[in-house]
């Protein structure tokens, strides 16, 4: 294959990604996410139960007050994010239906929490 062909493929893929990105940004929701906060301390979530309104995008701020890294994760809400010791992070959650959603520290599975959507 020629170098031109390589560049064409590369350009094609980059274009596709840019279009996807443009669609993503262009379609951005005007609605601001609802902020929630939780801390990880002594290998426990505080509070262990969060509450959020249904059908609203969420931003969960997590602060790791342990002295070791955590991985803030949820299979129910589809996020995973490493939070170094002493650091703060935010994960975005797409609008949820009413229900109970589990989240946990993947590095210390005993650290469990629940998000309740009425």
């Amino acid at each position: 294959m020629t170098g031109t062909a390589h560049r064409k493929i590369g350009a094609g893929i980059v274009t596709a990604l840019l279009i996807a990105a443009a669609v993503g940004c262009g379609g951005a929701r005007a609605e601001d996410p609802v902020s929630l906060s939780v801390t990880i301390k002594n290998q426990k979530f505080e509070p262990a139960e969060l509450h959020a309104p249904p059908d609203k995008p969420l931003a969960i701020h997590v602060k790791n007050l342990n002295t070791i890294p955590s991985e803030f994760e949820s299979s129910d809400m589809h996020f995973e994010k490493i939070v170094p010791a002493g650091a703060e992070a935010v994960v975005r959650v797409r609008p949820l239906q009413p229900g109970r959603y589990n989240f946990f520290d993947d590095f210390h599975r005993a650290t469990q929490g629940t998000l309740v959507v009425p």
Binding site: I13, G27, I68, I82
Partner: protein, 275 residues
């Protein structure tokens, strides 16, 4: 010890599936062992570097540095896999014919090997960074590495490597004339899955918010955090609650790969054109 074993096994397992496929894809190509080993080594070094800088990385892009970084390296892996498949569609046959010959075929083969070595490095880097951070955390909590942690990690590493070996040997049982078709298909789905994962990270960072509704929920049937769910997630990008955007990008990636493979396919030698 059990926690270390489980986490190390899980991560090595995921990287191992990908390495097993790469080994099968490159079966018989001269020098592939070195390339794959170099990919693993680069991935391990990269994992340590990423682990050390995770704090700083997180703070980039308004707190979404990890997501942007993950989406970036995943996209790069998708491009490498696409490139490999397209390259093989063009040169696969001649490569197979001249495999034993020195010279051009080997040089040509190594081009494609480099792309796959990058994929291996990215797989090891992503899974490895988690292992490094987790083990560091355990060691820090205990005030130093312990034998039980080392033993747990070691057993996890061995078990995960067995998965890699099983994948490789399993694929090798496929008759040679079908192997190219099977591995091309596997790589196309692997690439589509990685592209959908990249989208998941961009959605988690709220960089992409369009088409974020959930298309289906098969978590009752097969959770993507179960063992089989994880394997399928790594292999074909299975997600139990995909968003519309993930689905669109998944299908688009598959379509792009298929079209490029057709466009760049070697002209058929069975029906030579008359001048």
């Amino acid at each position: 010890m059990l926690a270390a074993l489980l986490i190390v096994f899980r991560e090595v397992f995921e990287a191992g599936l990908i390495i097993g496929i790469v080994m099968a894809v490159t079966a018989g190509v001269v020098g592939r062992g070195l390339w794959v080993a170099a990919g693993v080594a680069a991935g391990v070094v990269g994992a340590c570097v990423v682990a050390v800088f995770t704090g700083g990385l997180s703070e980039l892009f308004g707190g979404s540095g990890q997501e942007v970084f993950n989406a970036g390296i995943l996209s790069f892996a998708v491009i490498m896999l696409t490139w490999h498949n397209v390259w093989m569609a063009r040169h696969g046959r001649e490569l197979a014919a001249e495999l034993q010959a020195a010279g051009e075929a080997v040089v040509a083969g190594s081009k494609s090997l480099a792309a796959l070595a990058v994929v291996v490095a990215i797989a090891v880097l992503r899974e490895g960074a988690e292992v490094v951070l987790f083990l560091y955390g355990v060691a820090a909590a205990q005030g130093g590495a312990s034998w039980s942690m080392v033993a747990g990690g070691g057993i996890g590493l061995v078990l995960g490597s067995l998965v890699c070996l099983a994948t490789y040997l399993g694929l090798l049982t496929i008759p040679a004339r079908y192997l190219f078709g099977v591995t091309s298909t596997l790589i196309a789905f692997l690439a589509a899955g990685l592209a959908a994962q990249a989208i998941a990270f961009l959605q988690q960072a709220a960089i992409i918010t369009a088409l974020d509704q959930t298309v289906w929920d098969t978590s009752w049937l097969l959770s993507d955090s179960s063992f089989l769910g994880r394997a399928l997630h790594t292999l074909i990008g299975y997600v139990d609650q995909p968003t519309a955007m993930q689905l669109v990008v998944y299908m688009a990636t598959l379509a792009v790969i298929v079209v490029l493979m057709k466009v760049f396919a070697a002209p058929s030698t069975e029906h030579p054109q008359t001048a």
